[in-house]
């Protein structure tokens, strides 16, 4: 059972929700998340259950033109 976070393999946390995963990662705000290329709003983290093979992407503010 595994997933990828920004392209890197990661274990599915327990309980297997996006909220648990993000708590484990100790990210600094602000950030936003996509699961399998679909945006997940912050309000949905708690109920977003992770399954084997999920691809999680976490993005932060960055320089842009």
């Amino acid at each position: 059972m595994s997933l990828t976070v920004n392209g890197q393999a990661a274990a599915i946390p327990d309980p297997p929700t996006l909220q648990t995963l993000l708590a484990v990662l100790h990210l600094q705000r602000p950030y936003a998340v996509a699961r399998n290329e679909e945006f997940v709003p912050a309000s949905a983290y708690q109920n977003c259950e992770l399954i084997d093979g999920d691809r999680i992407e976490i993005v932060h503010p960055s320089a842009g033109g």
Binding site: N6, G7, A32, P41, V59, H60, G65
Partner: protein
């Protein structure tokens, strides 16, 4: 007389939009922002590499310190789905409905994909975004984007990051004439302050520059130069230029010229 740029009902005191990418240091970015005094700052979203989470945080701190309205982009998106999901993430992170919509159709010259652009704009407007599409100078595409609900358009001058200046001046000027009431911001491809001044003289409402500033040897000075050029061009447009003449017209009065006899000239003309 007050001359403000209005985008989606919001007024701005200046007409330059500045990108935040490709500066040598955070200090240089901060000083360039101060020098350009931009209406909006463009920003992006990126994944952080492993162990590099602080980079995002330090950039965020710069933005907070700059305290300017932000315009997030969907740079690098090649599909409608990528662009829409990037916009949704940007809205959450930057807490703004404004989005600079990029859907790239060609990876070599980073040319907008007109079909994807219209589709993505339609979806984003439905979802409550205020979309500023990075588009080409094609009139029909621009009309479709307006039909999709875009209230501002950002036609390119030349491919992103090239600094070539307006590649197709006639198309840009025609676009300006055909869409007189739509805020048009020339985005991408400007390299010199004179390019910015030129498009402002043509009546464009603003310019968006990034590489032209950040890749100059002295970005802070260049930021200032662009700000001045945009102001000069805008004033030139508002002042309404003189009509171009085919033949020379002396600007200094003829009458009272020394070494010259008015009467003899009159005689000479009669006999000619």
């Amino acid at each position: 007389m007050q001359d403000t740029l209005t985008l989606y009902g919001r007024s701005f005191q200046t007409r330059i939009l500045l990108g935040t990418a490709r500066y040598e240091s955070p200090a240089q970015l901060i000083e360039s922002i101060e020098a350009a005094d931009p209406a909006l700052l463009t920003v992006a979203l990126r994944k952080q590499v492993q162990g590099g989470l602080q980079a995002g945080q330090s950039f965020w701190n710069i933005l907070r310190k700059a305290n300017r309205p932000l315009l997030p982009n969907t740079a690098g998106c090649n599909t409608v789905k990528e662009a829409v999901n990037t916009a949704l993430m940007a809205r959450e992170v930057f807490e703004t409905d404004l989005i600079k919509l990029e859907v790239i159709g060609d990876d070599v010259n980073l040319q907008p994909d007109p079909f994807g652009l219209v589709e993505a704009a339609t979806e984003l407007v439905k979802q409550g975004f205020r979309v500023l599409p990075y588009c080409t100078d094609d009139l029909v595409l621009c009309r479709r984007l307006l039909d999709a609900g875009c209230e501002v358009l950002m036609p390119w001058a030349a491919p992103i990051g090239t600094g070539q200046g307006p590649r197709n001046p006639k198309a840009l000027r025609e676009l300006r004439e055909r869409l007189p009431d739509v805020p048009l911001i020339v985005d991408a491809g400007l390299g010199l302050p004179s390019h910015a001044c030129q498009v402002m003289e043509w009546g464009f409402d603003g310019v968006l520059v990034n590489t032209a500033v950040s890749r100059a040897i002295d970005p802070v000075r260049m930021a200032k130069a662009f700000a001045g050029a945009v102001q000069a061009g805008r004033s030139g447009y508002l002042a309404v230029p003189m009509p171009v003449q085919e033949l020379a017209v002396a600007s200094t009065p003829e009458i009272g010229k020394p070494f010259w006899d008015e009467a003899s000239r009159f005689v000479a003309q009669e006999t000619a």
